[in-house]
Amino acid sequence: MQIYLPIAEMPVSVLLILAMGAAVGFISGLFGIGGGFLMTPLLIFLGIPPAVAVATQSAQIVASSTTSALGALRRRALDLKLGSMLIAGGLIGSGLGVWFFAAARRAGQLDLVIVVSYVTLFTVVGSLMMRESIREFWVKRRGGAARPRRRGGDHAPYLGWPLRMRFPRSKLYASVIPILGFALFVGFAGALLGIGGGFIMVPALLYIFRVPTGVVVGTSQFQIVCTTLITLVLHAVANQAVDIVLAILLIVGGVFGAQFGARAGRNLRAEVFRFLLAILLLAVGLRFALELMIRPNEPFSITTEEVRA
């Protein structure tokens, strides 16, 4: 069954889009990430104009993250206080990211900046997580304790900087300076790459701030809802590239997928969870690296800058 998309100005298969929404929603719910870095390339592959793909998939991220965040709130697995701090830092970072985006485009090297950032971020974050989870696995097999339980006062020095704040739900008593600084970095990368930044947020909350796994996903989803809502409206106003029909199809597929993903995530052991996320990130990083290094079949590409009526 085909349906015509009024903004993308092309027909698509309804079932295919629903299935894609469900698949990405599943991964999104499982790992507490937005999934934008998976959905955008898939939509572009279907022939949907890149601007429409980037803008519209943010609507799906809002919907599936809302579901996850509400679910987490009910399970008391969402740290509103920490989430608000992350949003505050993230907004400043987004502003800087948008500015840098324009500067790189003026210099004519935007494509390069984006692909190199993708490769670096995904490979670094993915490898770090992979190393950590393999080590954990190893220690466990030899019968040792998986990870020494965190005791009071046992934390990295930067968490003890001034302006300390208590985040009871995350079992965290830390300075807001590294938290805000980190959120700023995520917002910056997110605006630059057109992603929510969940895949940086989740591992960082896990490893740098040592927030319990259960709380990490909910808090990350909460932050994604707020950031992506703003992105969605800005895309609609600035580029008029949000296709409401495509958005509804992706959302309907996505919310169901996200539910099953979130449920599967709850039954997953923490180290398996991290291992799978590491594999996902490394795979995406590798894909972008290959794109950069392998001789392309078709060296030419076309972009439509504007349509003249």
Binding site: Y4, P6, Q60, V62, A63, L70, I251, M293, T303
Partner: protein, 256 residues
């Protein structure tokens, strides 16, 4: 003022080639409007043509040939080429096509090479290659622009948006012909020009220009207008809708 305009008009009339002994061409499209609704998956438009001769028209030894050129709405297209830089493949050179048609179809009754000379083809832009390689299609960079023109043609052909059919025009009688313009679903809405050229013995005898438009209707049109004219409201609506769907799903899947 009026007098100057009138003189200018007379001059223009004098300059225009007046066919003295020529045939005249009458063409018509099966529809002048393609309506796009939610189950639109592409369509086709038929072109009918009749060649009219009067008593003075000389009889011709060779049969008539017809070339139909269809141009979709103009786009500003940039073609980029990836080149090797160390271990990486990066976009290096680019070529701009400021007024390239989004859709371009050339339907002919014979292969264009057999219809007329290369010189005339290039000058009158007859055939897809002549249009792609026309001097005003993109800026000339003394040969460096050629691979980019070819790439544009190749990539657009792959999407079915640039096409040439050398058996696209069928003569029903020696003086009446018909053709079918295939419009894939990805051909964008907008104004389309249909240029029909009649040739015989490598010479252009007559030419007509007709138009059709492709428009979104009903819901599709309203969405397009809302997204353009009330973009804040449209964005906010989409955002609320997304939040609502997310909330609904969390209620449905609630486990108490």
């Amino acid at each position: 003022m009026m007098r100057i305009a009138a003189r200018l008009w007379i001059c223009l009339l004098a300059l225009a080639p007046v066919p003295v002994l020529g045939e005249s061409l009458v063409t018509s499209l099966s529809s002048s409007r393609v309506l796009i609704n939610s189950n639109y998956t592409g369509t086709s438009i038929a072109v009918f043509g009749a060649i009219e001769r009067d008593a003075q028209t000389i009889s011709r030894a060779t049969p008539y040939n017809v070339v139909i050129t269809v141009r979709g709405p103009r786009q500003y297209i940039v073609v980029r080429e990836k080149e090797r830089l160390g271990p990486l493949w990066l976009n290096r050179e680019q070529q701009k096509f400021p007024g390239a048609p989004s859709y371009l179809a050339v339907l002919t009754s014979e292969p264009v090479r057999e219809i007329t000379s290369e010189q005339l083809r290039m000058r009158q832009k007859i055939g897809l290659q002549a249009i792609i390689h026309a001097a005003d299609f993109t800026n000339d960079r003394s040969g460096a622009d050629r691979p980019f023109r070819d790439a544009l043609f190749r990539l657009k052909s792959r999407e079915g948006l640039y096409r040439e059919d050398e058996r696209g025009v069928a003569f029903l009688t020696p003086n009446i012909f018909r053709a079918s313009i295939p419009l894939p679903a990805t051909a964008p809405p907008g104004d389309y020009d249909v240029e029909v050229t009649l040739l015989a013995d490598t010479v252009i005898l007559a030419r007509t220009l007709t138009h059709f438009e492709m428009v979104k209707t009903g819901f599709e049109q309203q969405v397009g207008v809302a997204a353009r004219d009330w973009s804040w409201l449209y964005g906010a609506m989409t955002a609320l809708l997304a939040l609502f769907f997310g909330w609904t799903a969390s209620m449905i899947f609630r486990r108490d």
